[in-house]
Symmetry: C4
Subunit: 370 residues, 4 copies
């Protein structure tokens, strides 16, 4: 166990967490403003260019007659010609894809999250952008340092494991078990390495957005977000140094493989319900229309979603389907909420008891710990 770390290593991690969080919050706050602006702007354009548009009614905003379609196009042309708010491009789509006689209309603008200009709106000057970029650079440097330190520790661990393996093979004539080999690799270091990598890529993307008007916002935010998430989850490791906290973390870790195993079993039953519900109830309920929404609907039902609307909105065309839908929903909910959820609780309780007894009796779990 490589636990004798120097304190400055810990300090680096703490400062890193603080800086990454500040970076994320400032990034989030600036985006928040931009998103509000975009939304209100889109709403304005819809009110100006779409005839008889009513707020929140985009789902049912559609045309059914040839004359209506001409009227709407004429209205748009009149409005656009006499109006020049700003130079953003607008797309108005007339969607007649299904040839069903219903033409859906949609409007979109290209107001991307254009940092530079929006910073100006909130009073930001070139100076503040430079400062932000500097701050991002600092974070990249810290992450690289943390990355190299953790990589070194992991390499040391692997070297030690190789030594131990050859020593063990000589003395006992047996191969070291797979699980004992894993003991040499500290999982927390791997977590830190992954989070550092993600944060570095995210920060570089963020700097590019702020300087070169590259607007791949989604990818950048996923990297930064997941990076920050892993950094914070890493904090739990420091809690494990206190004995009372340790049992909880150990239980979560020990229960993990059992939970995954159980999720596999439950997942197959779940999948079979998904297939069956999709094919039979698809034409009769909007929530069962696609395989994806069936899965979301069933998952939500287990976790306390409104069940009554699901029951009631089932179109009651044929009584056979009606009976099937009732049997389907009652058995699914009973099976998953009562049996499978209870079994989850049982697994966790069982693991906790095992861990507690191990701690009290002090029995080593593997050959290595002896």
């Amino acid at each position: 166990h490589a636990r004798g770390r120097k304190p400055w290593k810990l300090i680096l991690q703490i400062v890193k967490i603080a800086f990454i969080t500040i970076q994320l919050v400032s990034f989030g706050l600036s985006n928040q403003m931009v998103v509000t602006f975009k939304e209100e702007n889109l709403m304005t354009f819809k009110h100006l260019f779409l005839k008889d548009y009513v707020d929140g009614g985009m789902d049912t905003y559609a045309l059914y007659r040839q004359s209506d379609t001409y009227d709407h196009i004429y209205h748009i042309i009149t409005q656009v010609s006499g109006f020049c708010k700003n130079s953003k491009n607008k797309w108005i789509t007339f969607n007649n894809g299904a040839h069903s006689g219903r033409i859906k209309v949609d409007l979109e603008t290209d107001v991307d999250i254009n940092e530079c200009r929006d910073w100006k709106v909130s009073g930001a000057s070139a100076k503040s952008i430079y400062l932000t970029v500097l701050f991002d650079c600092l974070i990249v440097v810290m992450c690289i340092t943390s990355f190299t330190l953790c990589t070194r520790s992991i390499i040391n661990g692997i070297l030690l494991q190789h030594e131990y393996t050859s020593y063990y093979r000589k003395r006992c004539g047996k191969h070291v078990p797979w699980l004992d080999k894993l003991e040499f690799v500290n999982g927390w270091y791997i977590l830190i390495i992954v989070s550092d990598t993600l944060t570095i890529i995210g920060s570089i993307l963020k700097m590019e957005i702020q300087t070169k008007v590259v607007t791949n916002y989604d990818v950048c935010s996923i990297f930064l977000g997941v990076g920050t998430m892993f950094v914070w989850i890493g904090v739990i490791r420091y809690m494990g140094y206190f004995r009372k906290y340790n049992i909880l973390i150990l239980t979560l870790r020990a229960a993990f493989p059992n939970v995954i195993r159980f999720i596999c079993c439950a997942g197959i039953i779940y999948l079979s319900y998904c297939f069956c519900g999709w094919i039979v109830l698809g034409p009769f309920h909007e929530k069962f229309r696609t395989l994806n929404t069936v899965s979301e609907c069933l998952f939500s039902l287990i976790n306390g979603d409104d069940m009554f609307p699901t029951f009631v909105n089932m179109k009651q065309k044929s009584s056979l389907v009606w009976i099937f839908s009732r049997v389907y929903l009652y058995t699914f909910v009973s099976l998953f909420i009562y049996m499978i959820l209870s079994l989850f609780i049982t697994i966790i309780t069982d693991t906790y008891d095992t861990i507690k007894q191990q701690q009290q009796s002090g029995v080593p779990t593997s050959e290595l710990q002896k």
Copy 2:
């Protein structure tokens, strides 16, 4: 125990699962398209033929005056005469069933899931239909093979059981217990046989739909759906071969009779609440109008449905009923969520502990396993 199966039997099952799933998904995707078309088409007709129709307002689309009724009929006649979109039949119903002065209007079309024509819409030719039918035939052949193999295994099991019974009677002079007799019949084989039968019927119906324009879609989808569901549930059996998974499956199986027993007890209390709620609260709350919706409402309440609207929408005509409704809802929810749900968890936990101890001590459960 008939566990020494040849690997090609396993391969047959795996290939069968894959093929059935592909069949189901392709069937589902094609239906999905048809259903969307049907819905948009119906919406178009409603907008064209029903006067002043507003999207989503079918519940309140009703007439209250004689003159309005004449107006609406005149509007429909005008629209239909000057319009000839396609040759589908449309039914417009004026429903005055309750003689209450309120006439509900509804519109329906007969666009059934007419595979042939819709395949054309998505660019499908006669060739692709033949391929689909061939694929279905292949599945039917596989299911018949699987069906005969499993039937043979079950017959072998029953023969073995008869031998054992006569041997046991001679040697011990006692009758073989009922549960020991059941040990010879592998439940998984029965599951496969049932799923094969359902899939065969479903596939034949599907072929008829695609070739002979028979449109009994609902029955076909129920057979195919439930068949696929059972096939997938059968996959759990292969997981039982791994020891760690086995305990979960064993617990689920062992807890099953206890859970069913407990559901009977809870079901009676549930039923008594249903009757009482229906008769007393029926006139005061829409969810308690029919015995069926009462059951759905109460079931949903236990499993996390919105309770507040149920409380609030109770019409407050008489204070006696108001007090009753509060007592009714508070006691029902407390009883079912706190006592009965907890007892479920207890039953499962208890079963798990029993199974675990049995596995650790290795005590046989019946005479036969000795």
Copy 3:
């Protein structure tokens, strides 16, 4: 223990359950029809007499100007004078109670659940009414028989208890414990007596409704409903004869006092949250307006109601109240869902284990059972 009952006593109970259920279902179905008629009728009148009435908009149907009020009254007078649908009385209320400048308008009719006339609507003749009343009489007779039998059994039990008490005092010189005395009184008989009493009163009221046009429907339905509910709960007793069912029923019964005790503790914390939420959050959220809705809202929150709207709809006037509302909701939900719900599960689990061990070891629980 008075367990050696003759089988015809059991048969009486079973026939009684069947008859009472049939009575309830037929009563419920006829009311269901009447309620639908009443609702559609009320809707029709609202559309005819209230100016610019829109379906479902009764909450916001109000007047704000003097001229509007005159217009509405004039509209009503015109409609009523030229219209004579039937002789039912209608009340239209102009509610200016709060002197706030907002006048709410409401319309009500006096279509009570007038059985006689409505039976005619569904084609019922005088004959069918006589049959119904006969059926009700039969139920009353059965309930009186069941009532007398159970009363006799209870009186026997009490006599036996007196004998035992005097015998015990002579022999042991001690008083019989309170709990042992209760053992002589069979709780199930008391349940049957209560349900019989309720059903008799309910059936008599029902007969009066059907013959003498007394229309106290609510009271009748509460008596019949609660009576039927208790009759059905009594069925659980017969399940206790099977050993495996018995443990569940015993657990529920044994856990009951502990659960009640715990509900008292939790209830006090609950009440304190209710008071606090009402006084502080009342002016800022509609759900916290009255003490009654606060209780319903909090109860619903624990049992899986939508929490997000409760958070979001909190009017954000003062930041102090905003912070308070967050602390209030987070602590309440955490405390009740995580700690108190878990403790419930613990209590039930503990009781189940105790009962199970008692059954296995066969230790008697009181002096009497020895």
Copy 4:
């Protein structure tokens, strides 16, 4: 342990609880009336002064064209000039903050909870106000008495602890453990002191509101509300005197530190999900717009909020974000509902078992109790 209190001390507390509750309820009921008046009044003004205002549509009540803005202002001026309902001030805001072309309009009045005038509305005279103030004074006196008594008891406890500490140090030569020192300070007394302080401040503020037309209603209600809440929680203490109740209270108290510890661990994972969800999903879903709503949304999801809308309303612009949102929501809900909730139950169950065994074996928990 200072348990030998005289009964009049208990009586004081009970009378105090009764009086504080009466004060709170009467305060709440009077405010309830005022709030209803305010709301209806505000609604009236909106209908009178805002052009084309529709009930419940304040979210979408906005202007998009220059001409519309002029129209609305003109309409307001016309209405206000010809109208003089009462002398309250009204503010109408035209909010063009985001420069997005959308101008939100809002109306507010300054009808504060002006007790004096509103008392008049409900027929209250100067006499009733004096009585109310007298009642408040009585409560203040009772709270001060209770406060001084409890403070005395706590001081006695501390003195006793000092004596014990010096005695213990002499005899055993060791320092008294920190936890043993705490045993001398009765936590319930501290609770009572805190609640008394809050109630005194709240009552004084309430008297000022009723006499001097100071209208700091929010602060007053928070003090009174939290004070009353603590007073009621203090009632649990008296329940602890019964042995059966005691185990529940002891379990809650003993589990508390473990629960807090576990909440810290879970809170960090929770926080990491909040950060990640906010930055990535913020622009695509309204619930993830601000860090605060993200936290509320996730907390609600764990506790049974509608999950399906959260899934469905995710704007499906980029498939990368779509996949991320699914992974994010599925893992979050599974982790928190299945693992962490189960661990909570485990902790409570474990604590209960420990407490129960301690009570049965009668082992003292600390040096002091010996």
